[in-house]
C-alpha cells in the first residue's frame, strides 16, 4: 500500500489544450480519494497521468514515495477499472483476471487461489468460464473489479466505473466498492461526475473545474464550507440557491432587493460589495405569512418526490428551489421562507470566492 502524491502536475495535449493546470494534493495511504467535476474538467487526464497512460507535461507524480513520472504503467503496481470495463474479449472471465498475474510470473497455484478468492468475493464464480460478451453489464463490471483486486496493487484507479449501469445497480455497486476498499485497505483514486458517488465514497474529495483544483477536503467539509461558488453549486442535490445582493451598511446584514437578511458571521468585505447569498434548499424553512425577516418565494411549479415536494420558483427574481413536506403548500401563489443565519454562504460575485 502506498500514498499518492501530486505536485504541480500539468498536462498540455498536442495542439495546446491545457487539460490539467498545476494540481497538487496528497492521497494518504489507504484512503479513498474521489475526483469530481463537470465533463471536460480534466479528471480522466489526471487519473491517466497517475496510471502512466499519459505523459506528464510538468510536475511530479509519486506513488509510495517514489516519483513515477518515467515509470511504465506495468511497473507502477497499480490497477485500473475503466468506464467501458476494457475486458479482454477473447479471454474467459478466469483468464481476464489471471492475465495480470501471469504477466508477473505468479506461480500457477497462487493464481488459481487468488482468482477464485476474488470471484467468491464478487459473486462471479458461476461465470468463470464465460467470455465477457456472455455477461450482463453488472457482471462485466464485477469482472473488471475482480481483475483489479486479484493483483493486490498499491493503488486502485477508477474512471467512472459505474456510469454504464442502471440506477439501482449503481447504488448497489457503489456500496460494494466502498466495502471492498475498506476491507482491502488499498489507496484508491476514483473519478466521477456524479456528486452523490463523490460524497458517499470519498475520504478525500477533490473538486476540479477547468483543469484546476477548486477545493480539497473531507466531503462534509466541502459541503458545509464550500470555498468557492463553484463547489457550493456543484455539491448537493437539489443544488444550492444563489440570491444576488450586496453587503449591508449595518454589520451582519445582506441586502436582497433592499430588504436586509441577517447572517451569522459578518463578512470581511466593504459594504455595498456585490455578493451572492447561497442557501441550500434544506436550510429554507416554511413559515407563516408575515413573520419578520422571511423571504417571499413566488411558486412556478412543484415536483412531486413522494414524501416531499420540490418547489421551484423565484425569490427576489432569482430562481430558487426549496424542499417541503407534501401537502404543506398551495399549488401556486407565494410562500414565505425563513433562513437560518448560521446556514448561509456568502460569495464574492467578482472572484467567486467565499467571504
Amino acid at each position: 500500500m502506498a500514498a499518492v502524491t501530486l505536485e504541480g502536475v500539468s498536462k498540455i495535449y498536442h495542439g495546446g489544450v491545457q487539460a490539467v493546470r498545476n494540481v497538487s494534493f496528497d492521497v494518504p495511504d489507504g484512503s479513498f480519494c474521489v475526483l469530481v467535476g463537470p465533463s471536460g474538467c480534466g479528471k480522466s487526464t489526471l487519473l491517466r497521468m497517475i496510471a502512466g497512460l499519459e505523459t506528464i507535461s510538468a510536475g511530479t507524480v509519486g506513488i509510495g514515495g517514489r516519483v513515477v513520472n518515467d515509470v511504465e504503467p506495468a511497473d507502477r503496481d497499480i490497477a485500473m477499472v475503466f468506464q467501458n470495463y476494457a475486458l479482454y474479449p477473447h479471454m474467459s472471465v478466469y483468464d481476464n483476471m489471471a492475465y495480470g498475474l501471469r504477466n508477473r510470473r505468479t506461480p500457477k497455484p497462487e493464481i488459481d487461489e487468488r482468482v477464485r478468492e476474488a470471484a467468491r468475493i464478487l459473486a462471479i464464480e458461476p461465470y468463470l468460464d464465460r467470455k465477457p460478451r456472455a455477461l450482463s453489464g453488472g457482471q462485466r463490471q464485477r469482472v473488471a473489479m475482480g481483475r483489479a483486486i486479484v493483483r493486490k496493487p498499491q493503488v486502485f484507479l477508477f474512471d467512472e466505473p459505474l456510469s454504464n449501469l442502471d440506477a439501482k445497480l449503481r447504488v448497489q455497486m457503489r456500496v460494494e466498492i466502498k466495502r471492498l476498499q475498506r476491507s482491502l485497505g488499498v489507496t484508491s483514486v476514483y473519478v466521477t461526475h456524479d456528486q452523490i458517488e463523490a460524497m458517499t465514497l470519498s475520504d478525500v474529495l477533490v473538486v476540479m473545474n477547468a483543469g484546476q483544483v477548486e477545493q480539497i477536503g473531507t466531503p462534509i467539509e466541502l459541503y458545509r464550507r464550500p470555498q468557492t461558488r463553484f463547489v457550493a453549486g456543484f455539491l448537493g442535490s437539489p443544488a444550492m440557491n444563489f440570491l444576488p445582493g450586496r453587503i449591508g451598511r449595518e454589520p451582519g446584514t445582506i441586502m436582497l432587493d433592499e430588504r436586509p437578511i441577517r447572517i451569522a458571521t459578518p463578512p470581511a468585505a466593504a459594504p455595498d460589495t456585490q455578493v451572492e447569498l447561497g442557501i441550500r434548499p434544506e436550510d429554507l424553512r416554511l413559515v407563516p405569512r408575515g413573520q419578520a425577516g422571511a423571504l417571499a418565494m413566488h411558486i412556478e411549479f412543484v415536483e412531486e418526490l413522494g414524501a416531499t415536494q420540490l418547489v421551484h420558483g423565484r425569490i427576489a427574481a432569482a430562481p430558487a428551489t426549496v424542499q417541503v413536506p407534501t401537502g404543506a403548500i398551495p399549488p401556486e401563489g407565494t410562500i414565505e421562507l425563513a433562513v437560518d443565519p448560521a446556514a448561509t454562504h456568502l460569495f464574492d460575485v467578482a472572484s467567486g470566492r467565499r467571504l
Partner: protein
C-alpha cells in the same frame, strides 16, 4: 415485419433476375461445363478428331510426377506470398496505427499498388531485380550474392514471390489497419497496466483480436496466389527456369496453349475449380460465424 418484396406479377421477378443469370451462365457455367467436357476427351495432334476417354486424362495427371512437382511449387509459392504479404502488411499497419488515428488521406495513397495490373507489377520488379540493370541486384553484388533469376530457380522463385506479395500488401494493410483501429484503446491500456509490455501485448491481445481479419486475409491471399499471379509469373519468368516457378494455373496454360494437350489442361482446370470452390466454402462458413473469439 416482412422484409421480402412481394411481387404481384409472377413473371417480373424472373425477368429482373435474368441478366444476372445470363452473365453467370455465359461467363462461368458455360466455360466450366466446357472444361469438364474437354477433361473427358483426347484430341489427336492435328485437332481433327476427338475421342471420349472417361477419366484417362485425370489418371494420367495423377501418375505424372511433374504434376506433383508443380503442386509442390504452388504450395511453396502461395505460402510464401501469403506469409510475406501478410507479415509486411501487419508490420506496416501496426506502425501506421500508432501514428494515424482515423486519417484517410494516406489510405488512398497506400491502396495504389493494388490497382497495378499483375503484368505491370512483374515488369516493375524485373527492372529492380534484373541481374545486370536492376538496382536491387546491384546492391546485392557487394554482399557476395550472385543474383541470377534466369538460371537459379530459387532466385526466380524469390523474385516472383516478392513481386506477387508486393502487389497484395496494400490490400492486406488496409484490412489490418481497419482491424487494429477497431480494437478499443482501453483494452490495450488495460493490458499495459496489467504488466504486459509491447511484444506481449501484441501476441496475447492484439493478434488474437485480429484473428478474424487475419483468417479472412489468409484465404484471400491464397486464392490470389493461386489464381491471380499468372500475369506476374508470365512476364517475369514464364514459369522457368526449368519450371521452378510453374504454378498450377501456369501449367494449365503451358500444357493447353503451348503444349496442345487440351484434355489434360482441362482436367487440371477442373481440379483448380474444386480448389477454389472449397476455399470459398471455407470462407463463407467463416463469414457466417462472424466472431471467432
Amino acid at each position: 415485419m416482412e422484409k421480402r418484396a412481394v411481387f404481384g406479377n409472377r413473371v417480373l421477378p424472373y425477368g429482373l433476375l435474368a441478366p444476372q443469370i445470363a452473365v453467370t451462365l455465359i461467363f462461368f457455367y458455360w466455360p466450366a461445363a466446357q472444361a469438364v467436357q474437354h477433361s473427358f476427351l483426347v484430341q489427336d495432334a492435328f485437332g481433327l478428331s476427338t475421342e471420349f476417354v472417361w477419366f484417362e486424362n485425370y489418371k494420367q495427371l495423377f501418375s505424372d510426377p511433374s504434376y506433383y512437382r508443380t503442386l509442390a511449387t504452388t504450395v511453396i509459392f502461395s505460402t510464401a506470398v501469403t506469409a510475406v504479404s501478410l507479415s509486411v502488411a501487419l508490420l506496416l499497419a501496426a506502425m501506421a496505427d500508432r501514428e494515424i488515428k482515423g486519417a484517410t488521406g494516406y489510405r488512398t495513397l497506400l491502396i495504389w499498388p493494388y490497382a497495378v495490373a499483375p503484368a505491370v507489377a512483374g515488369v516493375l520488379w524485373i527492372f529492380m531485380l534484373d541481374p545486370s540493370l536492376g538496382m536491387i541486384s546491384r546492391a546485392m553484388r557487394p554482399l557476395g550474392i550472385d543474383w541470377n533469376p534466369r538460371l537459379n530457380g530459387n532466385h526466380a522463385m524469390t523474385q516472383v514471390v516478392l513481386a506477387s506479395a508486393w502487389k497484395q500488401i496494400s490490400y492486406n494493410f488496409l484490412f489490418f489497419l481497419a482491424g487494429l483501429q477497431a480494437i478499443p484503446k482501453s483494452v490495450i491500456e488495460a493490458a499495459a497496466i496489467d504488466g504486459a509490455r509491447r511484444w506481449r501485448r501484441f501476441w496475447t491481445i492484439i493478434l488474437p483480436l485480429l484473428s478474424p481479419t487475419t483468417f479472412f486475409l489468409v484465404i484471400v491471399n491464397i486464392v490470389y496466389a493461386f489464381f491471380d499471379t499468372f500475369g506476374t509469373i508470365d512476364t517475369m519468368t514464364g514459369g522457368g527456369p526449368a519450371k521452378a516457378t510453374e504454378t498450377l494455373v501456369y501449367k494449365v496454360y503451358a500444357d493447353g496453349r503451348l503444349g496442345g494437350d487440351l484434355g489434360g489442361s482441362a482436367a487440371q482446370s477442373v481440379i483448380l475449380m474444386f480448389i477454389v470452390i472449397s476455399l470459398t466454402a471455407v470462407q463463407f462458413r467463416f463469414v457466417e460465424r462472424k466472431v471467432t473469439y
